[in-house]
Structure formats: C-alpha cells, structure tokens
C-alpha cells in the first residue's frame, strides 16, 4: 500500500515535470521563431491584410479623401476586364512553358549526370553557372543575343539556313513571349537540374537493379521505381518554380516592358501599371488577391494530385 502511493507520487512528480517542460518547450520554440515571424509580419502578412482591405474600397491616389467601400466593384470590374483575363492567360502560358521546359531539360541532364561517366562534376559545375547570373543581367545579355541586326543568334540561324532574313525576336508579337521563355529557361534550368540530381542520388540503387532483374527495361524501372522515389522533390521544385515565375518581373520589364502591343504583359506588369502608373490601388489590390487565391487553390490541388504518386524511399 505504502509502496503504491510512493509510486504514485513519483509518477505525479514526473508528469508535473513533463507538463512544465512541455510548456517551457513551447515558450522556447515560439521565442526562437519570433524574430523571423516579426520580419515576415512586417514585410508580408500585415501588407497582405492591408491589400485585402484596400481591394474592397474605391482607392485611388488621385482621390484619397474619397476612400469608400464599393461592394466588390474592384473585383467585378477586374474580372470583366478583357486586359486582365488576357494578361492572366499570358502569365499561365509563360509560367507553364518555362517550368515544363526547364523541368524536362533539367531532368534529362540530371539523369545523364547521375550515370557513371567521366567528368560529370565538371559538366555539373558548368551547367549550374547560369543560375549565378542575376536575372536582369541575363535579360540584358539575351537582348544582345537577340539583337536584330548584329545579334549572334540571327547570324547563326542565317548561316545554318534556318531563317533567311533577320528576325526581330523581341519586337514581334509572335516571337516575343517565346524568346523570353528561352532566356528564363536558360537562367532557371540549372537550379532545377541540381535539385533533381540531388534527389536522384538518394534513390537506392538496389531498387532500380531489382526492377531490371525482374525484367523491366530501363524506361519501366525509371517510371515505376525512380520517379515515385523522387516525387516529393519533383513536387516541391516544380511548385516553387511555378510560384516564383508568377512573380517574374525582371525579364519582362527589361526585355519588352509588356510589348509589342501587350503581347508580353503578364500579371506582374499589369498590376504594376494599374497601381503605379494609373494609381488605382483598389484595382491593383484586387488583382493581387485574385492572384493569391488562384495560387493557393492551385498549390493545394497540385500537392494532392502529385502526393498520391509519392513513395517514401526510407
């Protein structure tokens, strides 16, 4: 009997200690995250709430005394705006072609670099370099390559008889977007490749070999063993790439500034024009809110669909 209470007592002491410790842990953990959280609050969360509020009001820089609730008029007028719909479509075109092309080239190079060939570190090192070039410098550099009269691209294509006259790559509505996509792929593929290569190196070799022994060809083994093992990385690199390319500003602002005839006006440039050239903050904010909502829905759907194909390699 006495022994029992003793045990109970120590038990109680232990749980009491544990509770205290759990509480301590919680406070300690919050204290560690607090500085980062404060910075994010100032630069992201509070401004976003402000944007959300502004999107509900008629808010023009020219008429600051007349800021009134306007019954979602910003949203309805944006959604009815043909220019908005078109720039949204152009953004989707730019984002998905850039991400898909970068992914395909990145995966192909990663697979080649993952096989036992000589000099793979040198190849990897050189292919990784464009990522260290600032976006704006890459934009200016590609403008020089695309230059209609003296640009080296037109010269090479002329020599190879692929084109018979100089093309104004960034000055024509049908080539401008594609030209920007190529420059963006050049700058972004390297990071994609390095991430995918790192992922491929974590796939257990025995699994791939076992599949081959079981009679699968390389392609089947790749599809059914390798891809599921690296799915979580594929998911995160492509999603990050989609989200950051939605933000792309440097290439468009520098290379075409939206032209010719708006053929490269994406959401960023459109919002920039509405908010900082026409000073319609309400409308600019509404675009931002729609944009964020779209990305949240897209990201959760994407995670869900690709998550199903994921296999834990551990």
């Amino acid at each position: 009997m006495e022994q029992n209470t003793m045990i109970n007592k120590t038990n109680m002491k232990k749980t009491g200690f544990k509770l205290n410790r759990a509480k301590n842990d919680r406070i300690y953990a919050w204290a560690l995250t607090l500085p980062a959280l404060l910075v994010l609050a100032v630069t992201i969360f509070i401004p976003m709430l402000q944007v959300l509020r502004m999107s509900m009001y008629s808010y023009s820089m020219f008429d600051l005394n007349n800021i009134v609730w306007n019954n979602f008029e910003n949203f309805t007028s944006v959604l009815r705006d043909k220019e908005f719909i078109e720039s949204f479509e152009r953004t989707l075109l730019y984002v998905f072609s850039t991400v898909i092309i970068s992914f395909v080239i990145g995966l192909l190079s990663a697979i080649l670099l993952n096989s036992p060939i000589k000099g793979r570190n040198i190849f990897r090192g050189v292919l990784f370099l464009p990522w260290a070039i600032p976006t704006v410098v890459a934009a200016v550099l590609w403008m020089w390559l695309y230059q209609p009269q003296y640009g080296v691209l037109n010269y090479i294509l002329n020599q190879l008889h692929i084109v018979d006259k100089n093309i104004n790559w960034l000055g024509q509505t049908n080539t401008a977007m594609g030209s920007i996509v190529i420059a963006a792929v050049w700058r972004q593929m390297p990071l994609m490749m390095v991430m995918l290569l790192s992922a491929l190196q974590t796939v257990p070799k025995e699994l791939e070999e076992a599949a081959i022994i079981d009679g699968a060809n390389w392609f089947q083994s790749f599809r059914n063993v390798t891809i599921p093992c690296i799915m979580s990385v594929i998911k995160s690199v492509t999603l990050t790439s989609v989200v950051t390319n939605f933000q792309m500003f440097g290439f468009f602002f520098t290379m075409t500034n939206g032209g010719p005839v708006n053929s490269t006006t994406t959401l960023t440039l459109y919002t920039y024009q509405k908010a900082f050239m026409e000073f319609d903050m309400g409308k600019g904010s509404a675009i931002g809110v729609i944009w964020l909502a779209f990305l949240i829905v897209f990201a959760s759907a994407y995670n869900k669909i690709l998550g199903k194909m994921e296999v834990n390699s551990d």
Binding site: L112, L129, P134, A199, W291, I296
Partner: protein, 287 residues
C-alpha cells in the same frame, strides 16, 4: 561462345550509350555556357567591332577600354557598393533568423508549428507587386524609403523560406542526445544551441549564405520601387535604368557592366558551388 559474344556486344552497346550521353551533355553545356562566353567576349571588344559581321568569335584585338569606361564611373561604383551592402546585410539577417526558426521547427512539435512552417513556406506565393502597394505607403510613413534597411528587409524575406527549409534539414541530422548530454553537464539551453549545435551545421549555414547572397544580388523589383534616389540605387536597377536607358546602342559598355555585375559572384559561386550543392541535397531533398 555465345556468352562472350553477348558480353562484348553488351560492352559495345554500353560504349555507344556513353558516346550518346557525352554528345547530349556537350551540346547542353555549349548552349548553356555560350551566352556567358559571349558576354565576356563582347566586353573586351570595341563597339565598331561589334557591328561587324561575321562576328569575331575570338576577339582579334582584345581591349579593356570599356572596363576603364565603366569602372571610372563613380555612379557604377556607388551601385556596386549599395548592392554589396544590401546583399551582405540580408544574408546575415536571413542566416540569423533562419538559424533560430528552423531549430525550433526541427526540435519541437509545438501547437501551431505545422501551420507556422506552412506560413513560412507560403510567403513565396504572395504577389510582390501587390504587396508593394501596401509596403510603399507603410515604408513611407516609417521613413524607410530610400534606405538600406528597407531593401535588406525585403531581400531577407525572399530568402527566408528556403533558408529555413535547408537548415531544418541539417538540424534533423543531428541527434538530440547531444543536447541532452549538454543539459546534464549544466549547459544552458541557448548556450547549448549556440556553442554546440550551431558549429555542427556550418556547412548548412554556408549553403544558406551563398543562396541568400545570390537572392539579394538578383533583386530587381524592390530596388526599383523602394529606392528613388540615384545614390541609393543597387546594381540591377542601375544597369537597367541608368545604363540601358542612356546607352541603348553602347553594347560594349552594357556587356561590360553586366560582366562586372556578375563575374565576382560567378567566381565565388564556382569556388563554393560544392557546398551549395551539398546544402541543397541535405536540406531541401532529405528535409
């Protein structure tokens, strides 16, 4: 008999496969490195050579004229200084913030930690141009427009999500028994973190440092909008607004400014690339 035939046949096939692999890799490498090569070659030619066709693949008379023109320009040096201050400042801040936050995410499963991590990662989704609408007036009221602080904060925010993620991966590889042992030795919690754990994740910190520095160096949107004074401008808006606007036809000068803006970072990057790769592997892939 047929066995040896198969073997040599297989070897030959493998050899052919390797030749094919090399071909593709060499083509990719040439395509991806050519623009950088061309940027450097253009910077050591004069403008009248540039307007000649066929182009000189290797400059016949290389000259450093454009470098003298760019580097003797005080404006350019000011842009350079500003970029270094902003990138270095945001790198240090990003490391300090990510180091603490990711430690909490790695070690403690506290109420709301999942949501908090999600909030950290989701900040990349928030449209910067729209945030700028609110940030512009906020910073104006706080007197932060045209300051390094504004730019450092903005660049830190962009680098923070992935930095936190990378470092969490590094903390996850360190056994908790280390902290327990230190606690028994009477070492305080924060002291343990700072003196024992942080030195162990140095490779991760180096990877984050390279990443955050490149993010700061790459910034354009914030430098363009939060800075209005020419003497506070950073390199990327500097090249576009000052150089590009004034010398649209002076390609030698523009390419020289581009080389100056990217070569130092490129050299550091070449030297430290392997840390960056291992950091991304450990942090982003396993984490």
């Amino acid at each position: 008999m047929s066995n040896t035939f198969d073997k040599t046949h297989g070897k030959e096939k493998k050899k052919k496969g390797n030749v094919f692999k090399y071909c593709i890799l060499i083509i990719f490498t040439v395509i991806f490195i050519f623009p950088i090569y061309w940027m450097i070659m253009t910077s050591i030619k004069t403008n009248d050579v540039l307007l000649r066709l066929p182009p000189e693949w290797i400059p016949v008379k290389p000259t450093l004229d454009s470098f003298v023109r760019v580097l003797s320009d005080l404006k350019f040096l000011t842009f350079y200084k500003n970029s270094i201050i902003v990138s270095a400042g945001s790198t240090i801040l990003a490391i300090l913030l990510a180091m603490h936050a990711s430690y909490a995410f790695s070690r403690f499963k506290f109420a709301g930690s999942k949501i908090l991590q999600l909030a950290f990662l989701s900040t990349q989704m928030f449209p910067q141009v729209a945030l700028m609408i609110a940030l512009y007036s906020l910073y104006k009221n706080l007197g932060l427009l045209d300051t390094y602080t504004a730019l450092i904060l903005a660049c830190t925010t962009i680098a923070l999500p992935l930095s936190t993620w990378i470092l969490k991966g590094f903390y996850d590889t360190i056994p908790t028994s280390l902290e327990e042992a230190a606690a028994i030795d009477g070492c305080g919690r924060y002291m343990t973190f700072w003196k024992i754990i942080v030195p162990l994740i140095q490779p991760g910190i180096l990877a984050v440092a390279i990443y955050a520095f490149l993010i700061g160096w790459d910034d354009f949107v914030w430098g363009l909008t939060l800075i209005t004074k020419v003497e506070m401008r950073t390199l990327t808006p500097g090249i576009v607004l000052t150089y590009f606007g004034e010398n649209s036809y002076d390609w030698a000068k523009i390419m020289t400014a581009s080389v100056c803006a990217s070569l130092p970072v490129l050299l550091v990057f070449i030297g430290l690339q392997k840390y960056m790769v291992s950091g991304l592997t450990l942090g982003a892939v396993k984490g």
